[in-house]
């Protein structure tokens, strides 16, 4: 106490200190009590609340996407496969600066604006926290390696493997199998959110779309323990997903490829149906496109090229192309005429190449200017006389004609599983009043009798009609699916999807088939060139649909018309005529005449199916 000049009272200081120490101890005890009370509040009073929070932290219910069912053709050839692809994905919650990370990634791998805009779009959609958002699909091995090397400097960046659809036949099946693509906002709203919680792809078109629920399967769940960085440490519990069902189609991949080859370079469509089963053997529309590009998202430029192409490769002509059926419906009109009794097998007319209604100046021309002379129904079909059918249509009237055509599937889509098919137009008095606001004129019936005028049909509908004739009216609805691989789904006949056509005189079936055989094998048959030298009998009918109306009194000159103004060439037919294995409808847009442009294609298909593929099957080459 050297610097103190006061007299210090040591005892007083000591007692002050002792008193204050006791006070300090009391305050310490009070503060400790506060801490203990707080701990009690957290650990005892609210224990279960925090237990739940803690479990929520570490346990996550993850949904496991089911494996999509595969699609096979009738011989077990794979048409739609699942292949692993690697995608670059970001977990936004774990990325500090999205733009910066994307910029960094752009320096490592090739990232284009479309990847970034697509990512931003997906980012805005509702999703689970910590669910990754794809930035780029289909990484190359090199890209994966480049990312993996830098992974530790890129938090929240993941390379994830997933199964994506692959279509081995590419273009050949685009218009029948369709394709899957990433689920979009609109689809998301309609889907079962639970079952699709782990699914990235959905069937957009064709078989993929129609059988979406069978192919998809059902979602599985896994309770996993995760750490704070969302890394899975172990699986606590799991409920396996149910894979989608594998489908077997009636389609024959070899025939499908053969048809692709035959239609190469044409704007055309062909549908082949097995009459006995209704199974679609081949369904092709050309030009086509590669469906694989659509699976993980097609880029803008490629899509623009497809969308804007004058040849409309994205347009499914087989199902959605609605064409005037032309003379291909003459067998049905003839059959109707026989059945209602407005004509008979022996009834003849003298075809002078023109027809005129009473009190009407308009001249209805025959395609062959000078006419066919004296002809009966068989001649009229074989030579495709328009004059005969003008008269027949006039005598039958629109109501009966429309009714019979309706039996054959016109004006509706009667297939069991081809959902995108259009219905065409089956004209009637009611239709014309409703859609055109005009009464039916007799001239309308004349045009309808030769498949022109208002009437429109798709190639699929024409094939349906042809198969029904081949079956002599016994209705077997066309379908793509043969069965599932495990045999569990069998398509059942639906009463609203067509019914048998019962004729008053059933032997007219044989007769009408005869007339169609005459088309192929008769001396004057319009498709006799395509029927020649065949080892089996073919029943067929050619058709030519006008694209441009030819003004009265003018000559039709195919050469002079621009290519796209030329007539559409059509052909329908089945073979062998007495016991049909295959019914075909083919249209070649602006192909000119049905006999020259369409019938040879059908003949090649018949040959392939009857002489090559069926023989292989009989000899057990397949499987």
């Amino acid at each position: 106490m050297r610097n103190s000049h006061h007299i210090k009272d040591a005892n007083r200081e000591k007692s002050i200190f002792a008193f204050r120490s006791v006070l300090a101890l009391i305050i310490v005890l009070a503060m400790l009590a506060a801490l203990i009370a707080r701990m009690y509040h957290l650990q005892i009073t609210n224990h279960s609340h925090y237990q739940t929070l803690s479990d929520k932290n570490r346990m996550q219910l993850r949904s496991v996407a089911p494996t999509r069912g595969l699609i096979y053709d009738r011989n077990g050839v794979l048409l739609a496969d699942n292949q692993p692809i690697f995608s670059l994905a970001l977990i936004p919650e774990q990325v500090d600066d999205l733009d910066f990370t994307i910029k960094q990634l752009g320096e490592i791998i090739d990232l284009q604006d479309r990847h970034v805009t697509g990512f931003k779009k997906r980012l805005k959609r509702s999703r689970r926290p910590y669910k990754e958002v794809v930035l780029k699909s289909k990484l190359t091995e090199e890209e994966i390696a480049r990312i993996e090397v830098r992974r530790h400097t890129l938090p929240g960046v993941e390379v994830q493997a997933e199964l994506a659809r692959y279509y081995p036949l590419g273009e050949a099946t685009a218009h029948s199998i369709g394709y899957v693509g990433r689920i979009n906002e609109k689809e998301l709203a309609k889907l079962d959110p639970q079952n699709y919680s782990a699914t990235n792809y959905i069937g957009k078109l064709g078989v993929e779309r129609f059988y979406e629920s069978e192919l998809h399967g059902s979602v599985g769940f896994e309770t996993v323990e995760i750490n704070a960085s969302n890394r899975i440490l172990r699986s606590l519990d799991h409920l396996a997903s149910t894979p989608g069902k594998d489908l077997v189609l009636h389609m024959d991949a070899r025939l499908q490829l053969k048809v692709m080859e035959l239609l190469e370079g044409k704007r055309a469509a062909l549908v082949a149906i097995e009459p006995k089963t209704g199974g679609v053997l081949a369904q092709v529309s050309t030009p086509s496109y590669d469906p694989n590009k659509f699976v993980t998202g097609i880029d803008h430029k490629s899509y623009g090229l497809l969308r804007d192409s004058i040849d409309t490769p994205l347009f499914n002509r087989a199902l959605k192309g609605q064409y005037p059926p032309g003379s291909t419906i003459k067998p049905v009109v003839g059959l109707a005429g026989l059945d209602v009794g407005v004509t008979s097998r022996d009834y003849t007319i003298n075809d002078r190449g023109r027809y005129q209604l009473k009190n009407d100046d308009r001249i209805y021309r025959n395609w062959k200017r000078e006419g066919h002379g004296i002809i009966n129904l068989k001649d009229a079909i074989a030579e495709s006389s328009d004059t005969y059918f003008y008269e027949l249509a006039f005598n039958m009237g629109v109501d009966r004609m429309s009714r019979y055509l309706g039996y054959f599937g016109f004006g509706s889509n009667l297939s069991l599983d081809v959902s995108e098919g259009r219905s065409g137009i089956l004209p009637s008095r009611e239709w014309k009043r409703a859609w055109r606001g005009l009464p039916w004129y007799p001239g309308d019936s004349l045009n309808m009798g030769i498949g022109q005028g208002f009437m429109l049909a798709t190639p699929f509908q024409l094939a349906t009609m042809t198969a029904l004739i081949a079956n002599h009216g016994q209705w077997v609805a066309p379908r793509l699916l043969k069965s599932t691989r495990d045999g569990s789904i069998v398509l059942s006949q639906r009463p609203d999807k067509g019914s048998d056509v019962a004729l008053n005189k059933p032997d007219n079936w044989d007769y009408i088939v005869e007339t169609m055989e005459e088309v192929m094998h008769g001396k004057k048959g319009t498709a006799r060139a395509s029927g020649a030298r065949s080892s089996y009998r073919i029943a067929g009918k050619t058709g030519t649909a006008q694209v441009v109306e030819i003004p009265q009194g003018e000559e039709y000159d195919a050469e002079a018309l621009a290519e796209r103004h030329r007539d559409h060439a059509l052909f329908v037919g089945f073979a062998p005529a007495d016991d049909p294995d295959i019914a075909v409808a083919v249209i070649v847009e602006n192909g000119g005449g049905g006999s020259s442009a369409a019938a040879p294609i059908a003949r090649a298909v018949f040959d392939e199916w009857i002489n090559v593929l069926s023989v292989d099957a009989d000899q057990g080459v397949l499987q």
Binding site: L32, Q43, H47, N227
Partner: protein, 381 residues
């Protein structure tokens, strides 16, 4: 030193009990030592779990403790009067070092706390001030009449707040709070009149808005705001508190078991081996474990206060009382912050949190306390 030693009554230590003579000759208080060892042992057990079962953490921290106990032992060998004599010099050097930090300091994460002098290991002057400021305050007040006059209190406050303000601007709010309290405890123990306490309290309260607007950094304000409403930013600043409360609450009465805490083992709990280590203890050992830990702390505080009361001169009393209460402030601020009743301030759980600097200073403080207890002058009774 030698003269001081001679003034000891030979056998004074022996009068306290034969069993204690060995320790007293070493200037160690065996009770305090036993309690500290128990705390450190429990702390290492928690640390093994909190550090993700990495032996390296325990090993490194164990080595630090060995060093810290060595420091404690050395510090205990010097008489309290030695520290009293050097208080002013140390204080002046300390303030100069803090100014050095301000101008030449090095640091990380936006704070400048370290001083790198040529020929010396890198050190943190603010840590040393935890000991020096109460020494200085005790030196000044013990040389005055007690209870202190208003003027004495004012001078002491100036002495305290010069270093405190230097540390606040580093910025290091946690250390400033601890140093300010250690100084204030000296004033309170010296017998400051309650009226003066109330007066200063009113002044401080009126200064708070000024602090908020002109002194506190954005991140400090953010911590206060987050403290007031942690749910407002559940993934950002509030995350720590939500996760630590979850860890503590989910521990329940008996805890999830050692190494079984999901919050800490799966890294949901941030800073689990440093500032938030009490949450690991609470999660794995439950309410019972927390009571045990708090019990140990209480016993250490009680023993420290007992030593302070028994001390023979004002300087020793004020210093020991201040050091032991500051130790408790560590505990209270840390647990209060982790359990969500105080804002997040960077204060470790003393002798349990992983980290070296605070361990050394704390054990040095206990060395001073032991020195006070074991260098008793028989005559002054």
């Amino acid at each position: 030193m030698r003269g001081d030693f001679l003034r000891h009554m030979p056998g004074a230590d022996a009068s306290l009990g034969k069993g204690k003579s060995f320790f007293y000759r070493l200037h160690i208080d065996p009770i305090l030592l036993g309690l500290l060892l128990a705390l450190v042992g429990f702390g290492l057990v928690i640390l093994y779990s909190a550090g993700g079962e990495r032996w390296a953490y325990v090993e490194r921290q164990g080595i630090r403790f060995l060093a810290a106990f060595g420091v404690m032992f050395v510090v205990a060998q010097f008489e309290p009067s030695f520290y009293k004599r050097w208080s002013v010099v140390l204080f002046v050097l300390g303030v100069i070092a803090l100014l050095g930090v301000m101008f030449f300091g090095v640091g990380a994460k936006g704070a400048q706390r370290w001083l790198q002098l040529p020929g010396l290991p890198r050190f943190q002057p603010s840590e040393l001030m935890k000991l020096i400021v109460p020494m200085m305050a005790a030196w000044y007040l013990s040389s005055r009449y007690l209870p202190p006059s208003f003027r004495d209190v004012f001078v002491t406050l100036v002495l305290i707040f010069v270093p405190v303000l230097l540390i606040v601007q580093q910025p290091d709010l946690g250390t400033s709070i601890l140093i300010a309290s250690s100084g204030l405890f000296v004033i309170l123990f010296a017998g400051i009149s309650w009226k003066v306490v109330a007066g200063f309290g009113a002044i401080v309260a009126s200064c708070l808005p000024v602090m908020w607007h002109f002194v506190m950094r954005d991140y400090q304000k953010q911590r206060v705001l987050t403290f007031l409403d942690p749910e407002s930013d559940p993934l950002g600043a509030g995350w720590n508190i939500i996760q630590s409360k979850t860890a503590i609450g989910s521990g329940g009465t008996w805890g999830k078991g050692w190494l079984e805490g999901t919050q800490s083992q799966l890294n949901f709990l941030p800073e689990s081996h440093t500032d938030f280590i009490i949450a690991v203890c609470a999660e794995e050992f439950g309410f019972v474990g927390v009571l045990a830990l708090l019990g140990l702390y209480l016993m250490i505080v009680v023993r420290g206060l007992y030593i302070a009361v028994k001390a023979q001169d004002s300087y020793s009393r004020l210093l020991a009382g201040s050091l032991i209460l500051t130790f408790f402030v560590y505990v209270f601020v840390n647990i209060g912050m982790v359990s969500g009743i105080l804002p997040v301030v960077g204060v470790p759980l003393p002798l349990v949190s992983y980290g070296g600097t605070s361990v050394i200073t704390l054990m040095a403080a206990f060395g001073v306390i032991m020195s006070i207890h074991t260098h008793r002058r028989f005559l002054s009774r």
